[in-house]
Subunit: 240 residues, 2 copies
Amino acid sequence: METRSSFLPVYYRLAEDIKNKIESGELKPGDMLPSTAQLAKKYGVSHMTVRQGVSLLVNEGYIESIQGKGSFVTNPPMDKLLLNFSEENLLGSNKKIQIKLLELNIVPADEKISRKLAVKKNAKILKMKRVLSRTEGPVALDSRFLPYVKGLPLLEKEIAYAAFPDLVASHTELFSVRNKLEVSASILSKEEAELLDTKVGMPALCIEQIIYTSKKRPIGWSKMICRADRFTLTAASHPL
Amino acid sequence: METRSSFLPVYYRLAEDIKNKIESGELKPGDMLPSTAQLAKKYGVSHMTVRQGVSLLVNEGYIESIQGKGSFVTNPPMDKLLLNFSEENLLGSNKKIQIKLLELNIVPADEKISRKLAVKKNAKILKMKRVLSRTEGPVALDSRFLPYVKGLPLLEKEIAYAAFPDLVASHTELFSVRNKLEVSASILSKEEAELLDTKVGMPALCIEQIIYTSKKRPIGWSKMICRADRFTLTAASHPL
DNA sequence: CAGTGGTCTAGACCACCCT
DNA sequence: GGGTGGTCTAGACCACTGG
């Protein structure tokens, strides 16, 4: 008749148990867990089930297991942070997003582009330039470059609204991929300031994105200039 | 006499096998994997071993498993990025790092600090201010604030050189767990420019860090102003 | 219903570390 | 050696999906 507290898997409860002991301070970083055999006995489950639970904690970064020695509580690395970067995120989840396409061209690769995209100089490059706005006004100015592939028409809607990685994937017909971000700061030029409806000399976050194929070939480059007064990047340590 | 290509676990080879099929395009995002039973038969291993291999791919973000339906190739999310932020990283791995402690004080919490650290106004706050330099000169100016705990002396060496999360943990004797970052851009003030050996009006990356206990209580706040011409943040999508 | 992934077992064996 | 984690099995049962 007792209402069981767990409709959850055993290995999961075991993991929660240990996690609680860590967060309450009963187990401190560096401490060794009971051996799998001991835990198996204590919880009345099999060796494999214990391992499944402990593995979960290893994946979550709470525990480090060392063969032949034991499993130890780690002090979770706080210098590894998860950064969420997408346009929805940037502009808020509202539908009050305005995107204006300023330019859409095929241009020859100049020095810088050919370096960034690892293509020959004067190779055909699809270039687009957009202004992203929220209700209160312009937030970011975005320039995107990708190798032009003939016979792959893109709808203007798609060009304007697709997230960069998706756009790159759809234009190049290559799958999956790596995304590398570089974040810097700059000061708005006259042209940038006008497009972003503010004054020259204001500070801006400058976010460069390079999209790679599975084997290191760059297939897309994007540079985003964000008004610092209207946008900040956030990141948080680990999943926990 | 044949040299076996695998001194690696079976589940690992199985995972690599599938991974290769994904990266070569043989398996596309959305495709369903063979069922665990089929894979078990094909590779001549047990159900559990197959699951171990597939789970690995799930953890790495290649596969999504749905109970009752199947396991499917995902198009890996490119908006989730891993950011590495530490002072070694910031200043390069060299030992040519110079850290100068400009200020070390106990100050009463002002409006802003009391908000950031969720303490009462005028609570005692340990404040320190540092300049971080590489060989070519100053890179960043760093201000750190944490609630003062009496009877916890800190060595000056420690104060100057410890990573912020470590410092916070050691001063509060709490196991800090969460680290939240906020990245913005600003323009150097006269004072900042002097300390960083450059001119007023230069752009700077502005990185705020807040350290939390396991249950959301803020126990440390740091604000770092980085010369944009000497430092950029980088992040990359997922593990792969 | 049959087919899928998810959990769990009881036991075997291996690889590694320490003493 | 004895203790640790890591791999693997053969089979049982459950939970969920879909026709």
